[in-house]
Symmetry: C2
Subunit: 553 residues, 2 copies
């Protein structure tokens, strides 16, 4: 008869082996006792790449970054109890950003639930609102072959029809470990799961081509990575401009940039763009002026979404196409015959040019740093951008760059949390020629623990330190007597020491030395933190001057 430890081991191996067979290549593990069979199976699996991180919040954001960079599900493993709850912030982002995570929560068996046993909480409902599926396993049993199929199912659920987090709760009885454990047979696998191509119906595409022929239209490429080539080809066929969010993937690449606009956040402050049609791809754009324009516009809006959600906070969509964005764009490109009237593209391009010129004139120090990062990043480089002002400054000042760059951010929930760990996870994927994060000081300090995840990775973090939550300087809260204490909240923190905790390099830089320091950091091994203190008042003044100037564009 098998011992409890052997049963636990085989059970965990069946599950982990099944996940690996179904396409999971990475596991991020936080140390713990109850999770021992799962962690051990991961560490012993011949093809799983494992990373061990102490803080579960950091581990989960790291896994999220990996999943974002690789587009494949990543397994997370932690022990029972509050450990699980530390994953929640990243699970929220994974839900909204639709990133596949397999959440393996080790648990105590039913007889230890709700009776005062140590490190025992109700783990069944903890992520309910965020999950695609939740598999509550029985305590480990002898018969474990079915777990290989369950693993295939879980991986499939994390990818389709709406990718996101899937939980598998795995109770184990003691003893957790067999006195001497052997290595498993890893060959077993569940079914190979084939996901569909999401094609728009031909008749609907033909009708749309008919409707929007000859019209003045705009493509809004929103705040998530989109397939650049088919979208720019559609734009060419329609001769429509593309208002490209900095996270859309359309601003930076070797595709045709001639219709890609990167300064709509500026030129739309000046006045309307009399579009008759808007095609929206991806998440809602970061830019408030684009949102304001869309709200006021009478353009007919078509949304293209590859899953059951669509981003329409203004409830303005007239048609929603559930289709793969690339497939939609290709299908429509194939049948469009009548592009926009001549002059429409030129009109928008003129606004873009004026806006870029104006932005160059009123460029705050943050913009210079961001431009340098775009210049210095090699082909296939990664720029991870923090929320609040970092992403907005990138929106206003990046322009377009004829170089393949990936721009990522935690824009699902747009949280201030876990940005550094997410960045390191993305960088650890090994998919990028180099990796740079640009974040504000509060975003950096919110994720001090995340700096631990940078060990062993080559990466650069630029901290644009404007002494607190500078975004609030642009909001009505700035007028309150309680502004500094309750909203700006400048922190008295030693950034050099923060770097040193985990052995990262640190350089305090100013605008003059930024480029040289960045070039050096990109050549260096390990993590370098470039700390760029910014005169907040001057920066605020420059932003205001730009926006005031934009009014008369």
């Amino acid at each position: 008869m098998e011992s409890q430890g052997q049963i636990n081991g085989s059970w965990a191996e069946a599950l982990i082996g099944g996940l690996a067979a179904a396409g999971v290549a990475r596991a991020v593990i936080s140390p713990g006792s109850r999770s021992t069979p799962l962690a051990l199976a991961c560490l012993r699996h011949p093809s799983l790449s494992c990373r061990v991180l102490l803080d579960e919040r950091t581990a989960a954001f790291f896994a999220l970054g990996l999943a974002r960079a690789e587009g494949r599900p990543v397994a997370l493993i932690c022990t029972s109890g509050s450990a699980v709850a530390n994953w929640h912030p990243a699970v929220v982002e994974a839900d909204l950003a639709r990133l596949p995570l397999i959440l393996l929560t080790a648990d105590r068996p039913p007889e230890l639930q709700d009776c005062g046993a140590n490190q025992t909480i109700d783990q069944r409902g903890i992520f309910t609102a965020q999950l695609r599926a939740c598999h509550l396993l029985p305590p480990a049993e002898v018969e474990s072959d079915w777990l290989v199929h369950l693993a295939a199912r879980a991986v499939s659920q994390s990818l389709w029809p709406l990718s996101g987090p899937v939980q598998i709760n795995v109770p184990f009885r003691e003893p957790l470990l067999a006195p001497s454990s052997q290595s498993a047979e890893w060959g077993k696998s569940g079914p190979r799961v084939v996901l569909p191509e999401l094609l728009p119906p031909v008749a609907e595409i033909a009708r749309l081509a008919d409707l929007c022929g000859d019209a003045r239209g705009v493509i809004v490429a929103g705040a998530e990575p989109l397939p650049a080539e088919p979208i720019v080809r559609l734009a060419a066929a329609l001769d429509w401009p593309i208002l490209a969010d900095p996270l859309s993937g359309l601003r930076f690449g070797t595709h045709d940039l001639s219709r890609v606009m990167a300064a709509a956040d500026t030129f739309l402050r000046g006045g309307a763009l009399a579009a008759e049609w808007v095609f929206r791809f991806g998440a809602f754009p970061v830019s408030k002026p684009i949102a304001t324009w869309l709200k006021a516009s009478e353009a007919r809006q078509v949304l293209i979404s590859p899953d059951s959600r669509w981003a329409d906070p203004q409830r303005a969509a007239e048609i929603v196409f559930h289709a793969d964005p690339g497939a939609f764009a290709e299908a429509l490109t194939g049948v469009v015959r009548r592009p926009a009237p001549r002059g429409w593209q030129t009109l928008v391009r003129t606004s873009e040019t004026s806006a870029l010129r104006l932005a160059a004139r009123h460029q705050p120090p943050e913009a210079g740093a961001l431009r340098s990062v775009l210049d210095f990043l090699p082909e296939d480089g990664l720029l991870f951008v923090g929320n609040s002002m970092a992403i907005r400054d990138l929106d206003s000042f990046s322009g377009t760059v004829a170089k393949r760059l990936s721009v990522l951010g935690n824009r699902g929930a747009s949280g201030i949390d876990g940005n550094l760990a997410s960045f390191f996870g993305a960088a650890a994927s090994g998919r990028y020629g180099a990796a740079v994060a640009v974040v504000g000081d509060l975003t950096f300090l919110h994720d001090l623990g995340g700096l631990a995840a940078g060990q062993g990775i080559n990466a650069v973090i630029c901290v644009l330190d404007n002494g607190g939550g500078a975004i609030f300087e642009h909001l009505p809260q700035a007028g309150l007597a309680e502004f500094e204490a309750g909203w700006l909240t400048p922190q008295k923190a030693d950034f050099a020491a923060a770097a040193r905790v985990w052995g990262h390099a640190y350089h305090r830089v100013d605008a003059d030395r930024f480029d040289a320091a960045l070039a050096e950091a990109l050549d260096a091994q390990g993590v370098t933190i470039l700390h760029f203190p910014i005169d907040r008042a001057a920066s605020v003044a420059r932003h205001r001057a730009l926006w005031a100037g934009a009014q008369s564009l």
Copy 2:
């Protein structure tokens, strides 16, 4: 007509004013935009004491520490989105440790839910399994008087019949703020809520006294603060020994310590204690030998729990009294006539004395540090103790001390998370003559972000650095080839730098310099971190020698 900003302001003021009138004296706020009306009402309230902390996970653990120290509900405020999820680890601990928290989650209004609006998640079900109640408010309206009553209800629910976390979800529409906002009338309050005394029925107590007369019995005082005076008086009346957990509050104080045993973790390794009765108060004890003895014992077990839960992972209780522990002890003391046979108390005391002598002989360096902390802490000092080895070493080596000390730990879920922030919250209550935390290196590094919460507080953190999760050295995982990578997980971290990030003092100490450094740190302003590196192998050997010696006690 009132503007939206004014409506938001009055709504928040009614709610916050109501909470303050119902007894909430503290608010812990994390900066954000959507939460502006709530934060502003807190900051302006004349009697609320506010603390602003950037990282919501830290903020929640800080609030938890305050609630633990003060026994009063603490309000938490954060903005919408993933911010809320960062509270979850502390909410898990608050649930299991039964600590009152009022979770004020600012939210976007219904029309911005599930449509791709920024920083919008489903906040309604996020804490379901942990909450006592969840109030989902409508978006702020003109008529707000009822909120004062709702606040009284929420405070009551956080305290009785099972204290713990209560959520109030508070959606606001834009504009969040009125151009010029006035201060509120704060006088309004809901009903004064009177909670019951939980007395055991007289007949049941008389029956119990009858049953356990003349018997050899033991009182097990578990891992949560208990009323010392009535319990030691009951022990005197029965002439029973008390096996006192280090978190029970019974080991350290000016009450009668003559029947309080602090070395059961050692002497129960040697053999059985032939008790006929066990009265268990509080959470299940930390000690594994106590658990093992209880499981093997044929003693009839009586549990005393003041709420609807009771800690009985072994499912061994014969009678559960739902009553206030102090009231139970007093009632029974009043009717006990026949104490245990002579010699019973002496028998246990002899074991205790031998165990303490043995422990002194095999004392590892951690024990010396803990003893010094107990010696140097002034009357009414606070010792906050981390989980894993710190609490177990305190259990084995503290003995008893005739001085009023509070010993606290996050023993609800026994998590490694948020210990520093919880400690700082307790220290910030101002209830203690001095505050010292003793934690392991992994517990310290797991909560690096929590160090931010120490600013402005006088406190000492002793880090017992045994180079990783030394508790696993005593578990079967220690035999694995993957032991160091997956379980011990020693961290390459610079503790001095970690201290410096937030301006805390740091001293690396050894056994010889520990006492002097501790004395100095207790006199110093601000936070001092005493970093005590420990030879793990030597410490493991001493623990093993003690336990081996204990076998023959």
